[in-house]
Amino acid sequence: MSIWPEERLDHVDTEGFHTVDMTINVGPQHPATHGVFRMLLTVDGELVTACRPYIGYLHRGLEKLSELNDYRQAMGFWDRTDYLAGLLCEQAYCMAVEKLADIEVPERAEYIRVMLSELSRINSHFMFLGAFGADVGSFGTSFTYAWRERERIYDLIEEVSGDRMFPTYCRPGGVTMDLPENFEKRCREVLGHIYQGIDDLDGLLTGNEIFVERCRALSPLTTERAINLGVTGPVLRSTGLAWDLRKAEPYSVYPHLKFDIPVGLRGDVFDRYMVRLAEMYQSARIVEQCLEQLPGGPFLNPNLPKNLRIDDAEAYVRIEGTKGEYGVYALAKGGNKAYRMKLRSPSFCNLSALSEMVVGHYVADAIIILGSLDIVLGEVDK
């Protein structure tokens, strides 16, 4: 087995055929790589014998920028990591700063954050369903179905924060502004469409035998191997382990909310798809509960200093991102800037398992396996 393109391996198979391994390049500009991601596949006929991923095309120096800008400025860079669910990243960043400085967050702000984060999670999973459907071969149909609902969620987020993808809506200590007056009505309207949209995609994809047959039993992962590889999120849960940071290490107001953790049985591509599909219903359930329980009161801690300065403190804050454990390591050593901020990116860790997962499968299936990991390159490359 060789991963070096220059080491072309000649070999003779059991039936006497003389074959030569070939290296093919996929990406970085390729629709199946979901962004600027490149992999070199060494193939023996149609079978992948080695895979070498190349990342970093979207590296923007997030961690350096977070050291150079003060705590409030730096937040704007963080929703550009997982740009399909910007609010989740903002929440993680703000939680890290709040942990360092012992800032209290009003309960209303926590509920608003959780509500919008869960909407973002639905948004990100819609993106997965659309793109994954296209990977497997439903052409544009799944994409258009998913996009229809994503637009509705983006509209709602825009009504709240003023921006669609990069809201910059959270602040250390709360959120920038209160919800608009008709939010509850609008949110329930969007939720109705979301349920309908998930059902539509469920029918389109899960109800399609070709789709199911392509995904079933493909590249199964065991729980032990997934843990050793550092794989988290829906991919880990598809192996049967019900580990979700919202329950395992509860944060924010998740202890007050009722939801289930969907798990898979075999850890194959189909289970990864089904886990995400089921998670969307749970997220919608959380949003509904937040709407019912939403308390009054301030949306931003009124006692915040104008210029936040933090003395020596260190924290590793982690939340359940859309792709897995989204962790922020933060170290403060006085002053109004962080000494070090590090993103533990779930897509990065999940993607590191790719080369192992595609070996022994067909090239066409390698694309599906990559799609089933649901990476977002903004988060991989930082």
Partner: protein, 170 residues
């Protein structure tokens, strides 16, 4: 990071009891228990954390490099145990100019990319790493951008000086 009088969680006692031979200093961060070890004891500690049934740290959450300037580089590992649900942070400080550490890629497959990232961003050398190429940066680039001393504006000029590649004469 915290004052001496803070009471450590029971996990600190459990680790002390399970691994009495590994010298390490325990303290608390805002979120987790921190163990500070010397680079020479790192492998023994991590092996013990992973294999001992009372500890069972089977998941490497995160690896963070830090530039402590005149005190050299530091590396922070975060481990989690799915069996017990506890987390520990392990800090290793390397003296200036000697940032060699043993690789953990043999114990945790997750360490592979984390270590490659720390190596290119800070200049750590992970002895025995299976694939020590640059990951996020260009493959032949030998700059370490997350060092505090790394200049911001004239990065291209620094590339030219450090690389000595043709076409980089400024």
């Amino acid at each position: 990071m915290t004052a001496e009088n803070v009471t450590l969680p029971p996990l600190a006692g459990a680790i002390k009891k399970a691994l009495p031979k590994v010298p390490c200093a325990a303290s608390l961060t805002k979120t987790d228990l921190d163990l500070r070890v010397a680079p020479a004891d790192l492998l023994a500690l991590v092996q013990g954390l992973k294999d001992h049934p009372d500890l069972g740290f089977d998941y490497l959450r995160n690896v963070t490099g830090l530039d402590m300037q005149e005190n050299g580089l530091e590396l922070k590992y975060h481990f989690y145990s799915f069996k017990h649900g506890h987390t520990v942070q392990v800090t290793v400080a390397t003296p200036p100019g000697e940032s060699h550490l043993p690789t953990l890629a043999g114990l945790y497959a997750a360490a592979d990319w984390h270590e490659r990232e720390a190596a290119e961003m800070f200049g750590f050398v992970f002895d025995g790493h299976p694939d020590p190429r640059n990951l996020l940066l260009e493959e032949d680039l030998r700059i370490h951008p997350l060092l505090k001393a790394h200049p911001l504006q004239p990065v291209e000029i620094v590339q030219g000086i450090e690389d000595g590649r043709a076409g980089f004469e400024f």
